[in-house]
Symmetry: C2
Subunit: 421 residues, 2 copies
Amino acid sequence: MKLRFYNAKILTMENESIIEGELCTDGGKIAYVGAERASGGYDREIDLGGDLIIPGFKNAHTHSAMTFLRSLADDLPLNDWLYKEVFPREAKLTEEAVYTYAQLANMEYLTSGITSSFDMYMKLPAYVKACTDMGYRSVLCGSINDFGGTVEGIEEEFNTYNDCGELISYQLGFHAEYTTKRETLEGLAALSQKLKAPLYAHNSETKAEVEGCKERYGITPTQLFDKLGMFEYGGGGFHCVWFDELDMEIFAEKGLWAVTNPASNLKLASGIAPICEMRRHGMKNFAIGTDGAASNNCLDMFREMFLVAGLQKVREEDAAACPAFEVFEMATKGGALAMGLTDCDVLKEGKRADFAVIDLKQPNMQPLHNIAKNLVYSGSKQNVSMTVVNGRILYENGEFPTVDTEKIYADANMLTSLFEL
Amino acid sequence: MKLRFYNAKILTMENESIIEGELCTDGGKIAYVGAERASGGYDREIDLGGDLIIPGFKNAHTHSAMTFLRSLADDLPLNDWLYKEVFPREAKLTEEAVYTYAQLANMEYLTSGITSSFDMYMKLPAYVKACTDMGYRSVLCGSINDFGGTVEGIEEEFNTYNDCGELISYQLGFHAEYTTKRETLEGLAALSQKLKAPLYAHNSETKAEVEGCKERYGITPTQLFDKLGMFEYGGGGFHCVWFDELDMEIFAEKGLWAVTNPASNLKLASGIAPICEMRRHGMKNFAIGTDGAASNNCLDMFREMFLVAGLQKVREEDAAACPAFEVFEMATKGGALAMGLTDCDVLKEGKRADFAVIDLKQPNMQPLHNIAKNLVYSGSKQNVSMTVVNGRILYENGEFPTVDTEKIYADANMLTSLFEL
């Protein structure tokens, strides 16, 4: 399939400039980005009427199938939410439910211009089928902890899911320090070194998590993971709210990725990640995630981008802190590199054809003083007119051509009876 | 014009329950809300297919025409932004520009289900024409300060704009303590008492504002306004970020409205308003505003609602703080009452026909565990399929039937040349 999107503005993210011209695909890849050329020889040619193409957003931390819990148990203290509402219901999840709720989540990502997710959850075969059936790209993240999984199992998953088609890949990961015993952490460090692969986990999401780790080990989770040799081949942490200076220096020195989840951190009262302070300590690698719908509850990169910028400004007491383009870079290029999607970072010949079309003819995008600022400070799902993954249009003007949406909505409501407590 | 919206879910806001049935209008008013009746006798009957009708959101603090500054001067320290970028450009505003940028703002409100605004700005005749030409409801707020306006002028505006048609009304107001000399404040207090009318102003938006007032008067802005007799007939404050306990007690005792503007307060690094603490001190009257597009930059009640809840949870370190329905009430009923729109607060026979239709058949609204939580935590402009003001459809499936959108976008970009410095 060869597609041509012409009469377009294109923010390639190779730099800050916006070019005018066209983007063409050939199969799953970008075949051309540049000034307009001749028509003809394409399966479909789409006149964008001056609208904007951006690299797809990368959702660098989520638990997609948790859409089954959306709005079911909010406004509760954190521990009641987790132990009384989330865990007992998760125990009832079936393969069919993971398939349905993952497709529901992927649909929502597409409405927000998100073209891939770094997903940490359970029942991977059902999840992988949900993504591949609809053509959505995902990077699976290992989620071993004391309640499930073994280091050998993680190695097997690594081999299986890094060899099951161009839409799926896999990174080593575990849930978190507070749910995983030392022996397992050591086994994971050895596996990371054996496979020369980066390693990821929830890290310092709450103050209580860091205090617990200090009681158990005398040091923070980051310092523990580093001491155990987990970061010899890179990797990163999800949330990273409660970092101390030494944590920041370790992340800076090892080039690790801090994935921030601001909406989830507000809604669960976890805190505000110190992104600007991290940059002052030399950290350069940042990405953004929505977290799961149970905690967020919205899977929307526009809301996350505004929050990243706005929360840093108020935390730093400086309206100049965390400028818009920096945040847009985190949400696109940063996310891709954090997840190991090195061919999904910018729009350029030979890169994967993962991108979104932004409708600029909407009141919130006008006037066109500065498009990147409009996107970060004023953008909304309403502006996403099309989302393309691996050269295939998965979302166009409110429709999902690769999904039976009526069935997904019906199943998503019908299956809720599974989870009654 | 008589309209019938049937096969609907309706959140009337008379209480928390959602009824199934229909809503009918007759002219600018609601003629019926209840179970389905017979078809026939209407100018148009619309099958909502199970979608949801909610009272229109009320934007209880904004400066609509400031869309001319959107994304023009962000990421700057507050004083540079205000004195080097905003004020010099505002001095160049024309009537034509206010008309265009106000219509642009009103269009954006409609995409977010907002049916009326409490607007504080300049060049009122052009603004009023922008609203009435397109059928949008607005409550003007006086904005006198040391740089423009007189107490006599405010009285004249009060009489003029409370008698110019059913879409427009006017409340007494002034900019803020730090821009308005004592003599004027005293004159406004006397005018409020003479007219038996509430009085509104920016209040305690920044820490510096409160400190400045204490240097000048030895007390906070709220205490000063109260001492001057400004609150004998009610009213309220915009922002209300830096309130002390006595301020809260004054607002509670006098039943004043605190209008919170969370996105603006983040983006300009002003702080986080202590809504939960205010409630603990007996305050009950809250509403939500977007502020102007120069500071926000997005005119979207969904983003504001999530921020109100999320920021209170993180401020209180309690995920149970500020539950969703409370926030939804602030954004609808609260806003209406704060602005004096006592016939726009709930959906009920005889009330004004100001409402929005929410498309529930979108991934972010599924499953339907709890619709109010879905709206507050997961809702987006993308969900607004229709917005009705005074019985007239002003927004439907992305179109604005009462506005020449192409002209507004063209003018909004063309007129930017006026403001070059």
